[in-house]
Symmetry: C2
Subunit: 346 residues, 2 copies
Amino acid sequence: MDKKYTIKDIAKMAGVSKGTVDRVLHNRGKVSPAALDKINEVLNVIDYEPNLIARNLKNTKIYRICVLLPDPEIDSYWLPCINGIQEAITEFKAYGVVIETHYFNPESKKSFLSTNQTIIKQSPDAVLIAPLFHKETLEIVKQYDELEIIVNTFNNQIESESIKSFVGQDLYKSGRVAASLMSLILTEGQIAIIHIDESLKNAVHMQEKEKGFRNYFDEKKIADFSLTTLKLKHPNVETKFSAFLEENSNLKGIFITTSKAYQIAAILSSLKDKKIALIGYDLVEKNVNFLNQGLVHFLIHQNQTRQAYLGVSTLAEHFLFRKDIPETILLPIDIINVENASFYVS
Amino acid sequence: MDKKYTIKDIAKMAGVSKGTVDRVLHNRGKVSPAALDKINEVLNVIDYEPNLIARNLKNTKIYRICVLLPDPEIDSYWLPCINGIQEAITEFKAYGVVIETHYFNPESKKSFLSTNQTIIKQSPDAVLIAPLFHKETLEIVKQYDELEIIVNTFNNQIESESIKSFVGQDLYKSGRVAASLMSLILTEGQIAIIHIDESLKNAVHMQEKEKGFRNYFDEKKIADFSLTTLKLKHPNVETKFSAFLEENSNLKGIFITTSKAYQIAAILSSLKDKKIALIGYDLVEKNVNFLNQGLVHFLIHQNQTRQAYLGVSTLAEHFLFRKDIPETILLPIDIINVENASFYVS
DNA sequence: TTAAATAGTGTGTTCGAGCACATTTTTATT
DNA sequence: AATAAAAATGTGCTCGAACACACTATTTAA
């Protein structure tokens, strides 16, 4: 019933040689109608699926996949990606898939462009990139397209005909999730939406989250809340935020659209009397620490590990097993609090 | 650097034949100290990893894995497992792994035992079972052990030396997660912990969740809450619960320890004025409907699909790639509300 | 000293798909 | 009818690990 049929089996059943069966299976032509009929008849009865192991054994071609992401030493947000990539390396090594990771400086468009040139020199079969810069990405994607190199993206979504796939999260909806949690903690008062980033590369990213967050409160028509947006940048996060705090004594909640919630939590921890609800992103160590201390109430898990893994593995499986590359893979928006955090940190 | 070495490569480098290399790699003896030294020298320099594809191609052995779980037609809780198992079937079919699913009647210990006998007759290499009945499980596990059939379990944890692995959730902690969410929705009042089940097979299951739930409130020392436990069983869920509602007018929240939250939600939906917080388990369709209607506030996702998939895949990978079977795999306790539910329902 | 036993080594085959190439059969052309 | 051309079909090798088996060299027992 579930017997595994081989080409040889089919050949015997149809009374032809395996070469003829092979030609039929691959539409290589040079087959008489009589033989074609006989073989098709057999194929209709049995359920033939080629043995992928044997197929890949013969295949001596080495598939090259390059991954391009910001240097995790500059922005630790990207650190988990390494694990996801490593996982894929281990899994597909045996099949002759070589995966190379390249880093660029997230502060520098030039670095992004030049690293892409380095990758092109490697002439990979596919690339997976974190497209931080919109215009520059479109530029280099065109180059990859001309060289027939498949381009996948993750984390940041960019629209382009030449991009085969995107792995990431629905940021708008994740903003809504944050808002739904915030409205559970608070009943009224002022809520600040804070964008903290070393540089402002992630503008679109953060705005989508803000839109979703605001939309939730708009929709619910809860007039008891007032929402304020605040942008903070590296050297003067503390001074600016402290000033903001003093000016807004009715502040009850903060939604931080990046993984830097710990910076705000650190400042709040020194103010004993303040009870402010904090919701942020990502299970970076410092965030989890503040979660355990009770200063951060919820974190939304963006699961970069899995983003990177899926980005690479869909490519590898495309080459090896001829699987389709899904256009978009949206990862679930995991809600993390102090009680379930330990199950998500790998 | 990342070159893939074959046995032939090693043989050439060490100046011996591939047969000798093979004997060294598998400790099959019959190798002179001189040859051993030469080969070990080469092995220390290069990083040899056998090609798993080639290894499994030769291996014509068919591995049999039987999965035993309650009939999803009797209890739809188990329905998602089928998808997880199907996924594993597809993935490992090419490697000669045959996976068979067997159902038993969750109401009947006799059915559990007899289905196990049917499985034993198939003489599988391993089984994955949902051990609903404690005593009976220990009994049949002993039989499997004598026949050298590997036993894995999922969903329900049972302690036994002969059980190699468990895939599931930390139920105690999931109770705590539920409590943490409940204490966010409510500030005071009475909370009911309701155990609903067709039969009372899952006693331990439900109790663990209750313990965690209660422990959270005990720990937080919030005196404003009072917790009551209620057990409901099939024919008279509605009547009993209605009576309970009338007697307890201060009821503010309900924690349902099984996947039957929709039964309570349905009753509550007819009572317009009541505003009761509802937290339950599992993304069964009816639960998600009430989540979308706003009658259920949170669901905890037990991810049976993945439980079943992992239970089988660890076994398959053990046979095929000689991977270790992890003793316990605890799946994350996913928190679901109306905003992120769509990403979890497959 | 010779036969038998054992240690050590190498060769050859298998798994299934895929493809190059050799061989046979059919059709077209003069 | 003879020959060339084209079409159809079959054979045989490859990939890498695994293992059976054959073979040589050395040791042991009679």
